[in-house]
């Protein structure tokens, strides 16, 4: 039940760039795809993913596991994901610390989990079940959040640290999400980093966001901003070497633009991910 350590620098693979990745060797160490886009019965999507997998290591990143759901996990979803995992043999399998489903309703959004003891017990039970079914360690990402909870008994990072400690799951640190949530909830992003277990963070996401009316919104539709790059550098120094990925979900730019951003990540993180790593890493 272990995933590979440092695996370099990758991009989120979106359909606008399928042909680029299939026709030429793109200088990335891995690609990450949205699991649900390929959890279909057959046809072109699965065919493309198989072709991509022949050329690049692939990470599967899900958005619908809903480990925070009070209803528990959807077994049909889990077994469909398992079939994809078994076929693709991915580098990482990740999802979010969030929920989307309650009483046959599915919001298709990454809704936040209250940071309470009850929620922690439930999330840990759901993660343990998912890891048992999939037969591997999963990574969970800190989502962007726009609301706080009356009655929260711990901070987000305390919740995540406890979740990882109790389930053995690993962590996907989305630095942009951290920046967005820290701004929206007025907490110290460095305290968040200090609160995470140094040996459990396995992957990093980098993305852009937008300024909403009152809050920062995690739109993933723009380049990584300077503040997030600075936070990334600190995160790599604390947790590195870590697999790092640029994640763009909307207003997809030419591939060359994303590769330029990846070059910045490589420069800050070091080609072997060790230039900024903590001593002895």
């Amino acid at each position: 039940m272990s995933t590979s350590p440092f695996s370099g620098y990758g991009l989120g693979l979106r359909k606008e760039h399928y042909q680029d990745f299939l026709e030429t060797r793109i200088p990335v160490d891995f690609v990450e795809v949205i699991s649900e886009n390929f959890m279909v019965d057959g046809g072109q999507p699965r065919h493309i993913l198989r072709q991509i997998r022949e050329r690049y290591p692939v990470a599967l990143h899900g958005v619908s596991m809903s480990v925070g759901s009070a209803d528990g996990l959807d077994s049909a979803y889990l077994y469909r994901l398992k079939a994809l995992v078994d076929e693709i043999e991915p580098l990482f399998v990740s999802d979010h610390l969030s929920w989307s489903r309650i009483d046959h309703f599915n919001s298709h959004d990454l809704l936040p989990v209250p940071y309470t003891d009850e929620a922690l017990d439930l999330v840990c039970a759901n993660i343990s079940r998912a890891q048992d079914v999939l037969g591997r360690t999963l990574l969970f990402e800190n989502p962007s959040s726009y609301l706080a909870f009356d009655g929260a008994s711990m901070t987000e990072w305390e919740f995540i640290a406890a979740m990882s400690r109790r389930t053995g799951c690993e962590l996907l640190l989305d630095v942009n999400n951290l920046f967005v949530s820290a701004s929206n909830h007025n907490f110290d992003a460095l305290a968040f980093l200090d609160g995470l277990p140094t040996d459990r963070v396995r992957q990093i996401h980098l993305a852009g966001h937008s300024q909403g009316k009152e809050l920062l919104i995690d739109t993933h539709d723009s380049p990584v901003c300077a503040e997030v790059w600075a936070l990334y550098t600190l995160a790599m120094a604390r947790f590195g070497p870590l697999a790092t990925m640029i994640e763009r979900d909307d207003r997809i730019p030419p591939l060359a633009d994303l590769l330029k951003e990846l070059t910045i990540a490589r420069t800050l993180g070091g080609l072997d991910g060790r230039a900024c790593s903590r001593s002895g890493a």
Partner: protein, 248 residues
């Protein structure tokens, strides 16, 4: 409030924008609730827009938006995948445009194409396999990507024109229904108008699969010689089109 109750309140806020639900979520939640409400509705609207580009082109962006909002208000999503959400939109369009059947029939075409695109893979039946078939007992299996429908309007030529960027014909109700097959050959989705008899023959086969039963059914309608000849020509056409994946 326990976790399940809290999640139900947030669901109520998303689905109904219930002020009571918002209040129950607590003072610290208020600033962000509108963000989640906007994300929820924008995502579903975007899903419908992406699934039905020709419906949108046909009725216009404003009418499509109104129809989508109606659908979103009446049908909260429930499946694990957003790909399932467009499934009921045709019924909503049929209700909203009762005198314009081409609208919901365009939606059927677009939905069938999308479903067929990701249906399970299946190898077509090789012609050599026919040599050993006992046709008295043979049951045909069709590709899981096959979708069939009888249209009461000229939705198919409208869809074809719109998808090619050409001016669409005026809408009209047909004196006789026009039937459509949608299926996938390898990884390419096909759409083919067929005569009503072929459509009925396929429905007959999808009921019980029996080829001899199909022959009898066709003989009843066309007479012995023409009925058997039609069964043979349909079988040849379905084999050539890679619609048949097995014979039991």
């Amino acid at each position: 409030m326990n976790l399940a109750q809290w999640q139900r309140e947030l669901r109520n806020w998303l689905v109904c924008a219930s002020e009571a639900a918002a209040a129950n979520l607590g003072a610290t939640a208020q600033a962000g609730l509108s963000v989640y409400q906007n994300n929820y509705r924008a995502q579903l609207l975007g899903c419908l827009e992406e699934a039905f580009p020709q419906v949108r082109a046909w009725i216009g962006a404003e009418a499509f938006f109104t129809a989508a909002v109606t659908h979103i208000d009446q049908h909260p999503p429930h499946a694990w995948t957003l790909d399932a959400y467009p499934q009921g939109f045709g019924a909503t369009l049929a209700t909203l445009f009762p005198d314009n059947p081409e609208v919901h029939e365009l939606a059927w075409i677009e939905r069938a194409l999308d479903e067929s695109f990701v249906a399970a893979d299946a190898e077509p039946l090789p012609v050599e396999a026919l040599a050993s078939v006992d046709w008295e007992t043979a049951c045909l299996r069709f590709t899981p990507s096959l979708r069939t429908h009888a249209l009461s309007s000229n939705a198919e030529p409208i869809w074809s024109a719109l998808s090619e960027g050409l001016p669409p014909p005026a809408p009209e109700r047909l004196a006789e229904t026009a039937c459509l097959l949608v299926w996938r050959r390898q990884r390419v989705v096909r759409l083919r108008p067929v005569e009503a008899l072929e459509h009925q023959a396929l429905l007959h086969l999808q009921d019980n699969g029996s080829f001899s039963g199909l022959c009898e059914w066709l003989v009843e309608r066309l007479g012995e010689t023409a009925g058997i000849a039609k069964a043979g020509s349909l079988l040849a056409s379905w084999l050539a089109g890679e619609l048949i994946i097995g014979v039991d």
